[in-house]
């Protein structure tokens, strides 16, 4: 059964009344109620990827967060310099839980904060000389580091430092890649441009630089998996069981060499399409590597994806695929058998990144949960086009919603679970609404693949059904107004 389209339209309009006229007019363009028409046409007039309103609590971050925090940071055998003042590196230190095998500070530099700690003199005189010294000192301190990336913070672009020239010089001197990345936080409107800038740098400085001794027909890359809580490992295991050979993991638990040989793959399998679509499109053009999206959240989508992947290969892989599914299906059925009765019909609202608000829908649906509203921090038009068909009629789809909008919606829609980030998490605890932090799996995970779904199901049940929510002595019960749900 669908949700009430008209009621939800009115609900959104009422919520936006709180804004001054200019902001109201803008924010209105970022909401849409799903209808048969939008579902069918897969098109929408929803505005996305434009500037956030000043003075609101936007959930968005910046380009630096997209580049260092998402794409480059997880590449484990390179040292990533947070180039500029101390804060950016400090705040992004280890917070995304990109797991990587190796010894921290020896051959793995992921959960470290390496910064040029700009002082006033660096702003006045420029930081290029200092950057040279930093690169030499990194080589000295971390002799096994395979390369360096220079992640620019806001002042770098503003004071006109030539990090490209320094990087070129140091790459030659240190005989390893030194990659300048112009991901200053003021560029673009969200993290999304940072992903793009980061990928362009990989394309320009890393791609195609190494060879793979022996290639095979089943060589694939995992693209756009950051190994949060071990996600990429829980995905890789299925691909390998199916007989595929994963030659590169981008970029969770990834290495420089994997980036350099990835052009040798026969197929790119992309999980987070938002962050790395630029890469697979480039590799298709430059190297003729076909690509496909897959979705390993929840068994239904995982079965579909495994079969779709197998269909691109031969009968051997297809047979293996069925074997893999047959092996795990009883486990998945048991999980659903246990948790679905406890979660059936629970209403969920999501605001996550640039993909997961759609990507995880199947996993919730496998548990009988219903997504009543969903939105993204930094999605683009194509993400929304893919979202409408996946959502129920009458559900609310929103772009870059502010904290105020989300809180109003949560109350009025009377949701049973909110999935978003740490900035939102504790607000919902006050409101007595079960919450999962869906950026780093609330310090749990993995959530990908069959092993991941077990943990996902357990976590959702743990959250929705914990007795703590019944202890909250609500001042007065908020009655849903106008909403149909």
């Amino acid at each position: 059964m669908g949700l009430d389209i008209e009621a939800n339209k009115k609900l959104v309009e009422d919520i936006l009344e709180a804004y001054p006229d200019k902001a109201k007019k803008d924010r209105k363009k970022h909401f849409q109620i799903n209808t048969e028409e939008t579902k069918q046409s897969c098109s929408c007039s929803l505005k996305s990827n434009i500037k956030s309103r000043p003075g609101v609590m936007t959930p968005r971050g910046c380009s630096y967060a997209g580049s260092k925090g998402v794409v480059w940071g997880p590449i484990k055998d390179m040292v990533h310099i947070s180039h500029g003042p101390v804060g950016c590196g400090q705040y992004s230190w280890g917070t995304r839980r990109n797991y990587a095998n190796g010894t921290l500070g020896i051959d793995n530099f992921t959960a470290m904060q390496i910064t040029s700690d700009f002082q006033e003199t660096d702003i006045v005189f420029g930081g290029d000389k200092k950057l040279e010294i930093i690169c030499r000192e990194i080589k000295e301190m971390f002799p096994l580091a395979k390369g360096i990336s220079v992640q620019s913070e806001c002042p770098i672009g503003l004071i006109g430092d030539d990090i490209e020239a320094v990087s070129k010089k140091m790459a030659k001197e240190l005989e390893m890649p030194v990659v300048p990345v112009r991901c200053e936080g003021f560029r673009g409107v969200s993290q999304s441009l940072g992903h793009h800038i980061a990928n362009d740098a990989i394309r320009d400085f890393v791609m195609g630089k190494a060879d793979l001794a022996e290639t095979g027909p089943y060589d694939v890359n995992i693209i756009g998996d950051y190994n949060i809580g071990g996600d990429a490992w829980a995905s890789r295991i299925l691909l390998e069981e199916m007989g595929l050979r994963v030659i590169a993991q981008w970029s969770g638990d990834g290495t420089l060499n994997e980036l350099e040989i990835a052009h040798k793959a026969k197929m790119n399998l992309i999980h987070c399409h938002r962050s790395m679509n630029y890469m697979v499109e480039h590799m298709e053009k430059a190297y003729g590597i076909p690509w496909m999206e897959y979705n390993f959240f929840g068994p239904t989508k995982t079965y579909e994806s495994l079969r779709a992947i197998a269909a691109k290969f031969d009968a051997t892989i297809q047979e293996n695929c069925e074997k893999v599914i047959a092996k795990y299906k009883p486990q998945m059925d048991a999980i659903i058998g246990k948790y679905r009765p406890r979660l059936e019909g629970k209403k969920v609202m999501l605001l996550i990144g640039g993909l997961r608000s759609r990507h995880t829908i199947g996993a919730y649906e496998d548990l009988g949960m219903e997504i009543v509203a969903t939105g993204y921090e930094f999605a683009h038009k194509d993400d929304y086009e893919k979202t409408f068909p996946d959502m129920k009629e009458g559900s609310i789809i929103m772009d870059d919603p502010t904290a105020y909008e989300l809180e109003e919606l949560a109350q009025k829609l009377n949701i049973d679970l909110m999935g978003s980030g740490v900035k939102e998490k504790y607000v919902y605890h006050k409101m007595g609404i079960p919450f999962r932090q869906m950026h780093s799996w609330d310090y749990s995970g993995p959530y990908h693949g069959f092993d991941g779904f077990k943990i996902f199901a357990k976590d959702m049940d743990m959250t929705v059904n914990n007795p703590v929510w019944s202890l909250i002595d609500k001042k007065e019960k908020v009655q849903p107004e106008g909403a149909s749900v």
Binding site: M57, G61, D107, I123, M141, G432
Partner: protein, 517 residues
């Protein structure tokens, strides 16, 4: 609950399964990894004295620093005032980082907005962002004051906050009488504590100036009051503790900058954006107080100068009062400022804490300790260590070189260490980072490390247990709710530390089965 048990391994156990171990090995063929020998050599080298020497020679790269940047402190400062909305002028990612960082420590929401400046603002300046931002923020979040701080972006392009806010008033984006305080907080100067100080000073001075009042220390009813400033205070419990102490004295007081309400609010079905905080009307009145008690004198450097200079008040400045002796000094300072005697109840509490010290001393005496943290916290921790017979060995402060009354922090630390034979082993490292600490821990081992969650990596590499004290504490829950200042705080610190020592003893026990300690 279903009786059927289902074994769902977590991420720690899952990846120890054989199939994942095999996956890890298999993946290496594509990683071009260093050989096991190379890795073993590099690890041994990184632990060597030779490496330590090189590590201390580096001039430019900073590895795992124990400090954050100015505007983060400003956001915390703004949240110490009634219905005040922090407004971060600059690119929006900074504000997201501050909100996340603070929320990860307190496990509480951090309401704050940004003016979301992008490329066009970099070229043309952020004035229109400021004007629209103030209008939107006031309409949506209904604050009674907005406190603006800057990011590096706004600082580098030279945005003029005072002019922008004036223009916002002229254009009617905010009312003429609506208070907007502001502070310049470039991230390339100082650290989070500098930003805290800048914003507190701005709020005090700007609200005082707006009120049109004049300072008259000790005047009228307000004159019987005492001002208390805690500083960049990561412990909400410390606010409750100082209140308890002041109430025991039966003195009137105003806490200037009290974010404990915002960072310890109830779950009751509603979220309200603002909880507690110093009343705005109390700020101008604070100029007429008897005097001000400052509990983080290095953090609150500019604020103290302002209070002394403009409010013409007596200021009693301490570092975080940790341990018995520092609490004694705190009580003396309150006595001196108010003319009231130290209450008997606190003397009795002191006796109970000293009794607990005596009970625990065999497990703490002579324990070698490494310390990392902010300047005032470290002075407090050193004092605590010395009075229970622990020996500070490595004292590391990434942001400890702030000039204070012509005297540097390091000199005061060394003077404190010199007061006790237990301080003779200590070396103070200013402006160093936690990668330096790693070398120190490996080359000159200690029994315990005390510091924030960030210290865990160095401590783990050296096999040293970590007592989590300070900011940020991300990986343990609710530590900030228990006070560490005052006599009660001394007892809490003692309990925390001695039980970690006893845990170690149990972990290493050789089967004799000690039950009683």
């Amino acid at each position: 609950m279903s009786k059927e048990r289902m074994n769902i391994p977590d991420y720690n156990t899952l990846f120890t399964e054989e199939r994942y171990v095999q996956q890890r090995e298999n993946k290496k063929q594509f990683e071009a990894p260093c050989s096991d020998q190379e890795k073993a050599e590099a690890l041994a080298y990184s632990q060597s004295a030779e490496y330590m020497e090189k590590n201390f020679e580096r001039k430019a790269v900073v590895i795992n620093p124990h400090k954050a940047c100015q505007p983060l402190g400003s956001v915390m400062a703004a949240l110490g005032f009634e219905k005040t909305l922090p407004f971060v002028h600059g690119s929006q990612g900074c504000n997201s980082y501050f909100r996340s960082h603070l929320s990860r420590h307190f496990k509480e929401p951090t309401p704050a907005v940004s003016s979301s400046m992008t490329e066009d603002a970099a070229v043309f300046g952020g004035m229109s962002n400021m004007i629209d931002g103030l209008e939107n923020a006031v309409a949506l979040y209904k604050p009674e004051m907005v406190a603006v701080c800057t990011t590096c972006m706004a600082e580098v392009i030279g945005d003029d906050l005072s002019a922008f806010i004036g223009n916002a008033r002229q254009k009617g984006a905010i009312a003429e009488d609506f208070p907007v305080t502001f502070a310049n907080t470039p991230s390339f100067i100082g650290s989070h504590i500098t930003g805290y100080d800048s914003m507190i000073k701005s709020i005090l001075s700007q609200l005082f100036d707006r009120s049109g009042q004049t300072a008259a220390p000790g005047a009228g009813e307000e004159g019987e009051k005492l001002n208390v400033l805690l500083g960049f205070e990561p412990y909400t419990g410390n606010f409750a503790e100082i209140r308890k102490i002041l109430n025991a004295f039966d003195t009137k007081y105003t806490i200037l900058g009290d974010h404990s309400g915002n960072y310890d609010s109830p779950a009751n079905g509603e979220y309200e954006y603002y909880y507690g905080g110093t009343k705005l009307a109390d700020v101008p009145k604070a100029a007429n107080a008897l005097g001000s008690l400052v509990l983080q004198k290095y953090t609150l450097k500019k604020t103290q100068e302002y209070i002394k200079g403009t409010w013409k008040q007596q200021v009693s400045a301490l570092s975080t009062p940790l341990g018995v002796k520092a609490t004694d000094k705190l009580l003396e300072a309150i006595s001196e400022l108010t003319g009231l005697p130290v209450p008997a109840s606190l003397k009795e509490e002191r006796g109970r804490v000293v009794d607990a010290y005596a009970d625990s001393h065999p497990y703490l005496h002579g324990k070698r300790v490494a310390l990392a943290g902010d300047p005032d916290l470290l002075l407090g921790l050193i004092g605590f260590c010395l009075e229970v017979g622990m020996e500070p060995v490595h004292i590391l402060c990434s942001n400890g070189d702030v000039e204070f009354d012509g005297k540097k922090w390091k000199e005061e630390v060394e003077a404190l260490l010199a007061t006790s034979p237990y301080g003779s082993e200590a070396t103070v490292y200013v402006g160093k980072d936690l990668w330096h600490l790693r070398s120190l821990l490996l080359n000159d081992p200690v029994d315990l490390a005390i510091g924030s969650s960030h210290v865990k990596f160095a401590a783990k590499d050296a096999g040293v247990p970590l007592v989590r004290v300070g900011f940020p504490i991300f990986d343990r829950h609710h530590m900030h709710r228990n006070p560490i200042i005052g006599y009660q705080g001394a007892l809490n610190l003692l309990t925390l530390i001695v039980n970690i020592v006893l845990d170690q003893l149990d972990n290493n026990e050789s089967g004799f089965g000690d039950l009683v300690r």
